[in-house]
């Protein structure tokens, strides 16, 4: 069993967790390679926190296996698993000083006193909290508490660091600062990290990989860029930003490309296994990757302007397509007379080549 997951610090195989009739995590398989910062991103109730708690051992899987560093941990209680965790409310011990909070994990591991003190000092310096040793948690600001929670988690040098929306309770400015610090710290010590969030921007900023979860399943796991540029499902395409979705038909194949017809136009997407000649297909394109032109321009998809929202740097056009579907197009305002259309105007939409992606049924 160890061989298969030797490279992965955390692996879940076919893990299902149900609470009574509710399936929170549904046959989930996931591998997290060493040193990777992975975000579990999804709407509330998608099973991301349950997944984290399954890795931690606070919940037991109904089915499937969980591995930490290749060891199956299903029967290992939380306190014997090699992880540490930062909680949403930080969960600092209110009756202990900062130093004692940070030293707690080391004391539980029975480290000798001098080594313990040295590591606490070192770690507090790492999170810029040197000199705060004797304060109590309630004497600290939210950002400082968050750093103590982080220090307490990393000081034990766990195989995996679990973060349960730790930035959720901070105000926006502080949250952005902490994002940068968290990312730097994670790269500095190279710790495998699983980060649960419902904030897309946060997930994209911080992560090496993002797993988008929905209904207890992972819809797609990829790098932030891949997720945005090549979402695999309707859900991902719409959860991360806005997408225009078209129903088309596979019209033919030209070498590596598939030719797709959407109404009167034809687009190219990379050929992939499973495409059927003449079969239906769903494709999508991001709003900023559609160019608008005058209605008499050739090879464009005709549409009618419904609303226009001028935002300075960009203008958002809400259009009605030939089959009544609504489309969103973001236009960069490069010159004062860019995209002069007003509601009621007829325009033609040009989908940027390479920007069109195929959606799996999801």
């Amino acid at each position: 069993m160890t061989g298969a997951f030797a490279e992965a610090d955390v692996a879940l195989r076919g893990v299902t967790k149900s609470f009574g009739p509710v399936v929170a995590v549904d046959d989930l398989t996931l591998e997290i390679p060493r040193g990777i910062f992975l975000s579990l991103l999804g709407p509330s109730g998608c099973g991301k926190t349950t997944t984290l708690r399954l890795i931690a051992g606070f919940e037991q899987p109904s089915q499937g296996d969980i591995f930490i560093r290749g060891q199956r941990v299903n029967l290992v209680p939380a306190y014997r698993r090699d992880f540490s965790m930062v909680f949403q409310n930080f969960a600092l011990f209110p009756h202990m000083t900062v130093a004692n909070n940070v030293a707690f994990g080391l004391r539980m591991r029975r480290l000798p006193r001098d080594e313990r003190e040295a590591r606490v000092r070192e770690t507090l310096a790492l999170v810029h909290l040197a000199g705060f040793e004797d304060r109590y948690p309630r004497q600290l600001s939210g950002g400082q508490q968050q750093r103590v929670a982080l220090a307490r988690a990393i000081v034990v040098r766990p195989a995996v660091l679990l973060l349960d929306e730790p930035l959720g309770s901070l105000d926006r400015k502080l949250r952005e600062e902490m994002q940068v610090e968290l990312r730097q710290l994670q790269q500095e010590i190279g710790i495998t990290t699983v980060f649960v969030t419902h904030d897309q921007e946060e997930a994209l900023t911080l992560s090496d990989r993002v797993a988008i979860m929905n209904g207890g399943k992972i819809e797609q796991i990829a790098t932030p860029r891949e997720l945005y540029e090549r979402p695999a499902t309707d859900f991902v395409a719409n959860f991360l930003g806005v997408s225009n979705i078209f129903d088309g038909r596979v019209a033919g194949r030209d070498g590596e490309d598939a030719l797709i017809t959407i109404g009167p136009i034809q687009v190219r997407v990379p050929w992939e296994a499973g495409l059927e000649m003449g079969g239906p297909i769903r494709v999508a394109v991001r709003p900023e990757k559609i160019r608008l032109g005058p209605h008499d321009e050739k090879e464009g998809l005709p549409a009618r302007v419904r609303h226009v929202i001028y935002l300075g740097a960009t203008t958002h056009f809400y259009l009605e397509g030939p089959e009544g579907q609504s489309l969103v197009v973001h236009v960069q305002n490069i010159s004062p007379d860019t995209a002069p259309w007003t509601p009621g105007d007829e325009v033609s939409c040009h989908l940027e080549p390479k920007s069109v992606f195929v959606l799996r049924k999801g």
């Binding site: 606070f58 306190y79 992880f83 209110p94 539980m108």
Partner: protein
């Protein structure tokens, strides 16, 4: 002194506080001061107290082995009842806190039910169980284990057991309230850092429940110190405690001595309260020293 500023700024707050404050001053602080005044006088056959000032009432207690024995017995009983109720009550409270809220309220009702029965009735219940012809002695004799009935009543131990059954619910309620405020994620945080169930309890749950431990211990201790009916009925004349002596002094119209004994009782209460709060430091739960 935030509250002082609050009152100087808001006359309405004064208007609300004044009636209970006056009541308290007139019917508690005033009589207390008067009682202290009485305790500093010699006895009198005809008046409430004699005209000469004296410290004799206090000095006599300090020098009399009988009074010292009673004081020691009172302290021992108080500490035994509060300590035992903590030991017995803590596991119960811990179990109740882990229950779903609906079942917990049922348990709480069951717990409070004995308090609806008068102390006198419960003490007679104990007499029916522990007396010479009580349930226990009858069973032992019928079983052939003893010839003569065992003297189970009229001892300090019996008083402690009797008071335990009355005061245990107070302790459990204090502990349940304190444990309910302990954030469960703190226990998970301890586990995440490698603390097993026992060490999680010792380092996190127990210290965070000290406000409940402190209030439970104090409540039970002070109620034990001031218990009369149960002590009298289950302890008999051999196991008197301080309150009993105060009562005896009042019954024999020796008012200054009764007052002095009352103040010694008050002093013990204050002393033990201070020691308990110093030892437990319930305020550290809020991260203040």
């Amino acid at each position: 002194m935030e509250w002082v500023r609050c009152f100087t700024r808001n006359r309405w707050a004064w208007a609300l506080v004044l009636p209970p404050l006056l009541f308290f001053l007139a019917f508690f602080v005033g009589p207390l001061l008067y009682l202290f005044f009485v305790s500093l006088h010699v006895e009198s056959q005809t008046e409430l107290y004699g005209s000469r000032l004296t410290l004799d009432n206090y000095l006599r207690v300090a020098g009399d082995p009988f009074y010292l024995l009673i004081i020691r017995r009172t302290l021992t009983a108080g500490l035994a009842v509060s300590g035992l109720s903590l030991l017995i009550g803590y596991p119960v409270a811990l179990t109740m806190v882990r229950m779903p809220a609906s079942r917990r309220s049922v348990f709480l009702m069951v717990l409070l039910f004995p308090l609806m029965v008068s102390n006198v009735i419960r003490a007679y219940g104990w007499i029916a169980i522990l007396g010479r012809r009580g349930v226990v002695n009858n069973l032992l004799r019928d079983g052939g284990l003893i010839q003569a009935p065992l003297p189970l009543l009229y001892s300090v131990e019996t008083v402690v057991v009797g008071l335990l059954t009355i005061l245990l619910p107070y302790m459990i309620i204090c502990l349940v309230n304190a444990l309910l405020t302990v954030d469960r994620t703190l226990e998970e945080a301890a586990q995440a850092l490698g603390a097993g169930p026992l060490r999680t309890f010792l380092h996190v749950t127990l210290p965070l429940s000290t406000p409940g431990i402190a209030s439970g211990l104090l409540l039970v201790f002070l109620l034990t110190l001031s218990a009369y009916v149960t002590v009298q009925l289950l302890g008999g004349p051999q196991s008197k405690m301080l309150v009993g002596l105060v009562y005896d002094a009042v019954m024999t119209f020796i008012w200054p001595r009764a007052a002095a004994l009352a103040f010694i009782l008050l002093g013990i209460s204050l002393g033990v309260t201070t020691l308990m709060l110093k030892g437990l430091r319930p305020q550290r739960v809020q991260g203040q020293g």
